[in-house]
Amino acid sequence: MLAIYKREMRGYFTGVIGYVFLVLYLAVAGVIFAYTTLFSMSADSTAYFTIMLLFSAIILPVLTMKSFSEERKMKTEQLLLTSPVSIPSMVIGKFLASYTVYAAALIFSSLYFLLLIPYATIKISVLVGNIIALLLVGMVFITIGLFVSALTENQLSAAIGTIAIILVFMGVGMISSLVPANYWFRFVVEALSVFTRFQSFTNGYFELSSFIYYLSVSALFVYFTIRVYDRRRYN
């Protein structure tokens, strides 16, 4: 697992994807930060983190699109799958590498809030809650990305497919407000929505159920990815 993790990290930073991701993430985060706080004279972080969530939905698939598709295309997966390494540890090694890059970008970008200290009092609890929320949502997005990447040889299809699935997860929450009549439907849809659950975090509430929700969706997609590899051996 450690070998695969190290190899992935190398892959990010000997190629361009790691740098492109970090630079783009920090730059866009900077712009959003400037507009939502500095220019609007506000220390409220809700808008910033909501936009960052949407941005993550588009940028995170870039981080995961190559993870498995490239191995399959280059046939290097034959090395991984015939080495004494289990499929779960291979998947988790890759997940941890993508997650490390993402977490680093997120934590660096959050340092922007230090700029506000001279001008306003920052609610640390809200800030930390938001960062944790983005970490959790990122985990979901990355595992979705890994799963889709394991399905194809083509990076571009992997990225687009991942964005599509993420948008479905985000979108269900928005549909729910359009169907007010049916209470149980709305309840189910909101329970499944990445977005609705995220909002409670941005307001500074820490809900255990949301925490468990994000963890279980991620675990589910890790499991799906492992299954993809198990299945492929039989076909």
Partner: protein
């Protein structure tokens, strides 16, 4: 060391492997021979745990690859058809990665250094794999299979795409590996099996059609040897003189000529060597002999005969 029992691999209604069994002992060098699409790669992929079989079992060092894949894979080094190398790494970085991936316990520097010198990669060890030629990449692939000094080394078409000099080098390398490892290699090049392997398993359409020592193969298939003789002399007399040699079954003129020499095919009974006798007869009659070569006994023609025979069997089975 390696045992395969009644392996079946089915894709829909197509059988890639149909009831294949064989056993390979320690230190053997075995060639899996067959035309493209015969099931060689499938067999190797199952043996290395990359694919699962529909039924049947594969054992490496006594361990069932499906029951305990991680343990079984520790004894295998595998070079797939396309070398599984990462273009963005240098040769040494790549081998270090494989070393860690396989959790090898040997002394790292010494072990990797030895592999580099065995496959002659020491000079390019710090170059990016992306910038290496096909032949060098293939060697990196071979080096990868040697990491961890596995007991069984499996090569899937190791010389495809190499130039003649590189092919000879790789064959020598494989022969040397055979002294300390069990080696299985697949190929559709017959000369390769003759040059490298002690034993050959011939596969066609998912079935084993021959499993012999390489040197025995010719004897079991052929009733006698064929020689092509080029002699200048009156055709009728040459034929009757050659027919009188004891051990000669038939003499056929091919009807073609090499300069003024006629070309004849001499078939022998059993494995009698009649070459000296043919020479003596020609010399006595003062017929200059300008060529004498065995023909039809090389693996090429035996292989085609075997494949034809098995095709007929399969076809016959269906019509009945």
């Amino acid at each position: 060391m390696v045992k395969v029992e009644n392996l079946v691999k089915r894709y829909g209604s197509n059988y890639a492997l149909n009831d294949v069994s064989f056993e390979i002992g320690e230190g053997e060098v075995v060639g899996l021979l067959g035309p493209n699409g015969a099931g060689k790669s499938t067999a190797m992929n199952i043996l290395t745990g990359y694919l699962s079989s529909t039924s049947g079992a594969a054992y490496v060092n006594g361990i069932n690859i499906l029951d305990d894949p991680i343990e079984a894979k520790k004894y295998i080094g595998f070079l797939p058809e396309q070398p599984p190398v990462y273009p963005d790494m240098t040769v040494l970085e790549y081998l270090n990665f494989v070393y860690e991936l396989k959790s090898v316990k040997l002394d790292r520097e010494g072990h990797l250094g030895e592999i580099l010198s065995v496959v002659k990669l020491t000079d390019v060890k710090d170059r990016l794999i992306r910038n290496l030629s096909k032949g060098y990449r293939q060697r990196v692939g071979i080096a990868q299979a040697l990491v961890g000094d596995p007991k069984v080394i499996i090569f899937d078409e190791p010389t495809v795409g190499l130039d003649p000099k590189q092919i000879l080098e790789v064959r020598n390398l494989i022969r040397n590996l055979g002294q300390r490892h069990t080696v299985i290699l697949s190929t559709h090049i017959l000369a390769e099996v003759q040059a490298v392997c002690e034993r050959v398993i011939i596969i066609n359409k998912g079935k084993i059609i021959a499993d012999e020592r390489t040197e025995d193969l010719t004897k079991t298939i052929e009733d006698g040897y064929h020689y092509e003789v080029r002699v200048s002399g009156p055709t009728g007399q040459v034929i009757s003189a050659l027919k009188k040699i004891s051990g000669v079954k038939s003499v056929e003129p091919t009807g073609t000529k090499d300069g003024d020499a006629g070309i004849y095919v001499v078939e022998t009974m059993g494995s009698t060597d009649v070459r000296r006798a043919i020479f003596n007869v020609c010399a006595q009659n003062n017929w200059p002999m300008i060529g004498l070569a065995p023909t039809g006994t090389d693996l090429e023609s035996i292989f085609i005969r075997l494949v034809d025979r098995s095709d007929r069997k399969i076809l016959g089975g269906r019509t009945r």
